[in-house]
């Protein structure tokens, strides 16, 4: 309860920016840092190769593909905070170290705007940036840049660049020599090279030639040394290629905005090479239907005055044994119509508690608000206290207590008012008089549907896919005890069974576990042979588990999962989570005992056995940021820690990143040095406007290696519990009356 005032204050002061309501691009003055209009060929605001000090609108997410005779790149850019831009990209470049003659390599960029432009003064916006901060260093560059608006349609940028941006036109090395790039396994921060070596100036102008067209010209120190065979300047000889050199350091480009969501561009590099690029822009803050298209909720029904319903007001109805069943049936049906299940109910003359399971609305507050409205329609007038307890996987996770007169008084007013009048508490474990709704359990849900599974950014096969049919079923015997699983039959696809490394499938199958371990730097292949599981034409059972959820105390939740936990592992998993409803901190512990599953036969197991365990602390920082840090033992028997940070939005969008470092040495781990990745989750309801709990998304992780790998158990407690806890509940409270 102590957190509530802070959280509420935060909720109530979500002041503006109005631009979020008024859609970007409506020509309004916006109190955000200087926003870029056009993207350079790294996908960031800038000219062609050079950056500017501009930012994207907060929370903007873009995907860019750029191709010229010299380069090929695809990437994602996310505006993590108003002044912090991040980028993740896959570039393709020649490498004599690889059989195939090229590498597709990831790189990560960071840009920070240290100073915003001050309108009407000389002060420009200033940003510093690091390009390719953890990859192999192929695109490695650092810069400091200033951008100034000269006229409303003209902006100029000038800066100093190191690394790739100083391949030509250098003016000296103020901070010492630049060490060569990491020639080993890659994946470590290249911090020792930052701002080292030759520095060169760069400059650009961008002219808005209309609402949609932007023309840019730049002077750049990036001479494409490796791509054009300049062995003296190229950082590593294995990257050398032999395209024609640029004629000068001047590049020209043009970008054209197509609607709100697309931008196309073309450019000429050094009067020699041409390139094109395409950018897709999206943002959790823009949607086709911001409020959603779900039907209106039922209006609140105010109670009649005492004179016209003396029996209802007196509470004598409560002694009638037929009252509660009739009310519970009517309320259960009305809730079912709105995608919620009334699991159980306590009803007395002046107080009603309902336990609902929300199966439709991403924002739990919308489910609670709708339930409150329906309660005013179903309950006799003497019931003044309304308690709406959210149930997740059969566990009561939180209770919202409202006075019925507040619901009547505040219907369809600013959501903060009813938030102030409501109390959010841990649910009472077993309240007296709790009556389960007849017919709710056992409950069977099943579906038959097609599936598409994809793999992206594999160096050999950029797009792998498999299409087939899938049956999923979920049988909940009693609340919290669930048997669930799925069956899949592949129809077609280009994802075939492949052995790791240079083995053929048969060769790999003939190896003993010891041989596999020995030939993989002493680490068993716990994940890196994942493609041995693909291309399976037999009937597959991706998952089949019995899950038991419980709540041993008011603030501790438990889970036991037994069966085929995931495609590669089967066994048992147990978890405990401490999470008081109004706490921003949660602590969890998980232990798993698993065997590796057969590559082909659904119910066979291989010999490899492992015990993994992780102790994790989770924290919600506010403003949509949350993080976790966990330590323990991973699948290969390695010991280490995982750190995760993500930014989430009330509507269900989430963008996050994680790293895991274990006691495996970089050599044992292999390429990439440690496990890391980016996750994106997009709610379907954001795209379609139709209410649904479903999300689409995925993890862009490092190459599947064997260090720092966890078992992919479904239904972990933290994710299960937190949607109805204070931070998520109040973040989404704005939809209480929706």
């Amino acid at each position: 309860m102590t957190r509530r005032p802070t959280l509420l204050r935060h909720l109530l002061t979500t002041a503006l920016p109005a631009s979020i309501v008024l859609c970007a691009g409506s020509g309004l003055a916006v109190a955000e840092p200087m926003i870029g209009r056009s993207f350079n060929n790294y996908g960031l605001p800038g000219a062609v190769d050079t950056p500017s000090a501009e930012m994207l609108p907060d929370a903007e997410l873009t995907a860019t593909a750029a191709k010229s005779e010299l380069t090929e790149r695809v990437g994602l850019v996310f505006q993590l905070a108003p002044r912090v831009t991040t980028a993740l990209r896959y570039g393709k470049f020649d490498s004599t170290e690889e059989r195939r003659g090229y590498v597709r390599d990831r790189s990560f960029d960071l840009r920070f705007q240290i100073l915003d432009e001050a309108a009407g003064t000389w002060r420009p916006a200033v940003a510093v940036g690091i390009q390719d901060a953890i990859g192999t260093g192929f695109y490695s560059a650092e810069y400091i840049v200033a951008t100034k608006t000269i006229t409303p349609t003209l902006r100029a940028s000038a800066g100093l660049g190191w690394g790739r941006l100083a391949q030509g036109g250098g003016i000296g090395s103020p901070f010492g020599d630049r060490p060569g790039p990491d020639t080993g396994t890659g994946g470590e921060l290249n911090a020792d090279t930052w701002f080292k070596g030759e520095v060169a100036p760069f400059a650009s102008v961008a002219w808005a030639a209309g609402d949609k067209l932007t023309l840019v010209a730049e002077y750049s120190g990036d001479e494409y040394a490796c791509e054009t065979g300049d062995a003296d300047t190229c950082a590593r000889s294995v990257w050398l290629s032999d395209s024609d050199p640029l004629k000068n350091r001047i590049n020209f480009g043009a970008t054209y905005q197509l609607g709100q969501n697309y931008q196309v561009g073309a450019y000429v590099l050094g009067a020699k090479h041409v390139g094109v690029q395409f950018t897709l822009l999206t943002s959790p803050r823009r949607a086709a239907y911001p409020s959603g298209l779900e039907p209106a909720p039922a209006p609140v029904r105010p109670r009649p005055d005492r004179a016209s319903d003396p029996d209802g007001w007196s509470g004598v109805w409560a002694s009638d044994p037929t009252a509660q069943p009739a009310i519970q049936k009517a309320l259960g049906d009305a809730l079912a119509d709105e995608g919620q299940r009334l699991e159980s109910m306590v009803l007395t003359a002046d107080r009603a508690e309902i336990r609902i399971r929300n199966e439709r609305y991403i924002q739990q507050a919308e489910a609670v608000g709708r339930a409150a409205r329906l309660m005013t329609r179903a309950l006799p007038p003497s019931v003044e206290t309304l308690v709406i307890t959210s149930s997740e996987a059969g566990m009561p996770t939180s209770s919202v207590t409202l006075r019925r007169s507040d619901v009547e008084r505040l219907e369809n007013t600013e959501a903060g008012q009813i938030a102030n009048a409501a109390a959010l508490t841990d649910a009472a474990p077993r309240p007296a008089g709790l009556v389960p709704t007849p017919g709710e359990f056992p409950d069977l849900d099943w579906a038959i549907k097609p599936y598409l599974s994809t793999g992206l950014f594999d160096p050999d096969e950029p797009f792998r896919y498999e299409v087939g049919g899938e049956v999923t079923a979920r049988y909940e015997i009693v609340p919290g005890l669930v048997l669930q699983g799925s069956l899949r039959q592949r129809a077609f696809g280009n994802a075939e069974q492949e052995a790791p490394g240079s083995y053929a499938v048969d060769e790999y199958l003939a190896l003993s576990d010891d041989e596999i371990t020995e030939q993989n730097n002493g680490v068993y292949r716990v994940r890196s042979d994942s493609r041995m599981y693909t291309g399976n034409d037999k009937l597959q059972v991706p998952r089949l588990t019995l899950n038991w959820y419980g709540r041993p105390t008011q603030t501790v939740y438990s889970r036991v999962t037994v069966g085929l936990l995931e495609r590669m592992y089967g066994g048992a998993s147990a978890e405990l989570l401490w999470k008081p409803v109004n706490s921003q901190l949660a602590l969890g512990a998980e232990i798993n005992r698993v065997r590796k599953r057969d590559y082909r036969d659904a119910f066979e197991l291989l010999d490899y056995e492992a015990t993994t365990g992780l102790v994790t602390a989770y924290y919600e920082f506010g403003n949509g940021f949350r993080g976790s840090i966990g330590a323990g033992q991973y699948l290969a028997g390695d010991v280490g820690a995982t750190v995760e940070v993500s930014r989430e939005f009330a509507n269900g969008w989430e963008v996050g990143a994680f790293v895991t470092k274990t006691d495996l040495s970089a050599d044992e781990f292999g390429e990439g040095s440690f496990d890391k990745g980016v996750t994106i989750s997009v709610p379907l309801s954001w795209g379609t406007g139709l209410p649904s709990l479903r999300t689409v998304g995925g993890t862009l992780s490092s190459l599947n290696r064997d260090g720092g790998q966890q078992v992919n158990v479904r239904g972990r407690l933290y994710e299960t519990v937190r949607d109805s806890h204070s931070v998520r509940m109040y973040d989404g409270w704005g939809k209480f009356w929706r």
Partner: protein, 224 residues
Amino acid sequence: MNRAMNAKSARGVAALAALLALSACGNAPSRGDDPSLLNVARQTVAQVVARRGEPAEAAAPRDPAEMAATALSVNPGPLILVGLEGLGTTQVLAMTGQNGGMRTYMTPNEQAVILRGGMLVGTRGLGHDMSATEAGRSAALIRAGQSGQAQRTLRYYAADGRERPLPFTCRIGPGPKAGVMVESCEGNGVSFQNNYMVSGGAITVSRQWGGPGLGYLTIQTLRP
């Protein structure tokens, strides 16, 4: 104001979702067809225009006057006729709830317009809904036929899932036509102008701004 109102979106994500959703089958969507409390309310509404779930195309080209006449003969309760200028649609809405001075009117497919003494204070199910607004000061001036100023905050469901305020400063006064009050509001670089026809202290016909994504609504009282 049927599905046609929502038909202008065909985005990649939507298309993908539709593909996944339409091609699926199972028992999951079966719940919710039973009669229920809310359905009682909805059936009241459903009487207004023939059967529930009637396709939009059938409703759209109908003459509003004919629609109004049919509705008045089938439904004994309060009715309004609402036109959405941006989409060129007009529908009859029936009152499904009254809470003090606030009334909720719904279409047969459960899109709602919420009025307080004839002033638009919210919409639901239109995709760009206004969540709430406090219009008391404006309403008092309009109904009294007086000139004056009022601060009004219109609140919206923003795409990121939050309720966001848009504050406006409004000037209220008689318009050029007799009996018509005009409320001109400005804020955040946006302006709108609402017109209200007042008779006997009640707003009978009005043209009110629903918000940045929704545009203007024309609201006419068929039966108070």
